[in-house]
Assembly symmetry: C2
Homo-oligomer: 264 residues x 2
DNA sequence: TAGTGGTCTAGACCACTAG
DNA sequence: TAGTGGTCTAGACCACTAC
């Protein structure tokens, strides 16, 4: 048995020695990476490139095993890894699905805001303004952009029962999110990560949050109905895509809400 | 093959029908729980009850498979689950170890404080006071205690380069932590979870953090060198043991530090 | 060299979903 | 009923650690 998945790993080696017998590759850097990791990466690549879309089903295990030329057990091990990352979801008797971002699912994959008494916060978002601008230093650092790069900037509030509780600024790299087309004044009932995925093909895989205190700017005070300079909780989030590239830098300010990690 | 691990799962069924042939149990509630889950629970129980101590090694896979009367694959699956929870650590060629709480490991299993510029915070803790008291309402709610229950309360600061940056109150259920014996004025170089484990046999498995803003009380202002009433970041943590019981309620106040979730 | 965990396979049988 | 994933086994071979 060859030491790599057919036509998948080390394609350059294949290209360098076309038709060569299956001997040790000339350069053998990753040639012996475990098959299940190669399989996992291949599955991931097909998810990223859209071969299998969010909400869609993968081929069955026996089929994938045939396709990749490995045993079912190896396929299963590759899948388990992606299931653990929250990318795939297996349903007994039905199949294996690429997990779509749904508001419900997002609620449990990331830290989230709650009321002071622990009640969940169920917001409706209202877009205050949207447009592209030159990325500022913080945006560039968070998103790994060069000087002069453009970002789409959204300002919005998130309200419950008509009461705005969060003031939010979201910066996104301009091109991948050109199709987002947020409309000022529009209400967003869905979790915004659902829109990233549906409109822009961008899937948020993980996020890093940094929490600090801040003071209300006039704009925040106006939006949140608190005095300027009032102490606020500030949550900064950098979200990364399946590829590991940062795709969202978000700052959320709130006066009344708490932020929670659910049983880490 | 019997449908349960010998002498482990459903011992009451065994007791009710001693010497009975291996037929369906009279009451078959959990009789068909997968073997690997039964094996996982057994391993967990032996970790909790101290059969295998933190830092110690488990028997080898073939040995455990023999002991439990299951195949190695089933043992591996049980272990993988516990490895995923951070309870076990496998070392190729050496064995499988019960993970001891070390300061280094803790740093990556929980949310943590960082400096505003992202630098890690490496504190030394100083105990201000320690003693037992009647649990207040918040303590009881967090720790699941009844009215009149006693808690050990620690007040301490956490400093870097001699500068106190965190003021902290820790409430612990009195009896399990009687052996902690914190000494006011003592410096704690180790992560306190190491002490819980070493002195009291209590292992913190998971924690839930809730972050809010607060105002400095006179005591906090005094300890942190900020004006009374200054806005602070307040992190409340409820930590639970391997058994799932809450064993620590901690409140941490800071003026300068940020709090961070590292990638999810 | 002996013993450990790591990878990979092949196949039996079960449980769930859908038509 | 056909097809899917879930459990469980048995065994081969490899790679790492220790002595």
């Amino acid at each position: 048995m060859s030491n790599r998945i057919r036509g998948v790993a080390n394609p350059q080696a294949q290209a360098e020695v076309p038709g060569a017998p299956e001997t040790a590759p000339v350069t053998a850097p990753l040639a012996s990476r475990p098959l299940y990791l190669q399989a996992r990466d291949l599955l991931l690549r097909r998810i990223v490139d859209g071969t299998w879309k969010p909400g869609g089903y993968l081929p069955s295990e026996p089929q994938l095993a045939l396709d990749l030329g490995v045993s079912i057990g190896t396929i299963r091990k590759a899948m388990e890894d992606l299931v653990g990352q929250g990318l795939l979801e297996r349903q007994h008797g039905r199949g294996t699905q690429v997990v779509p971002h749904s508001s419900d699912r997002s609620r449990f994959r990331f830290l989230r805001f709650v009321h002071g008494d622990g009640r969940p916060f169920r917001p409706v978002a209202l877009v205050l303004s949207a447009g592209t601008a030159r990325a500022d230093a913080q945006d560039r650092a968070a998103l790994g952009l060069g000087a002069g790069a453009k970002v789409m900037v959204l300002l919005r509030t998130r309200s419950e029962d008509g009461v705005p509780l969060i003031y939010e600024r979201i910066a996104l790299p301009a091109e991948p999110f050109a199709a987002l087309k947020p409309e000022p004044g529009a209400e967003m009932l869905e979790e915004i990560y659902v829109l990233y995925q549906a409109r822009c093909g961008q899937t948020v895989a993980r996020a890093r949050d940094t929490i600090a205190t801040d003071r209300a700017s006039p704009a925040m005070a106006d939006a949140l109905g608190c005095p300027p300079g009032a102490p606020l909780l500030l949550v900064r989030r950098v979200a990364v895509a399946l590829t590991g590239d940062p795709i969202e830098y978000r700052q959320s300010w709130t006066a009344a809400l708490h932020y929670r990690s659910d049983l880490d």
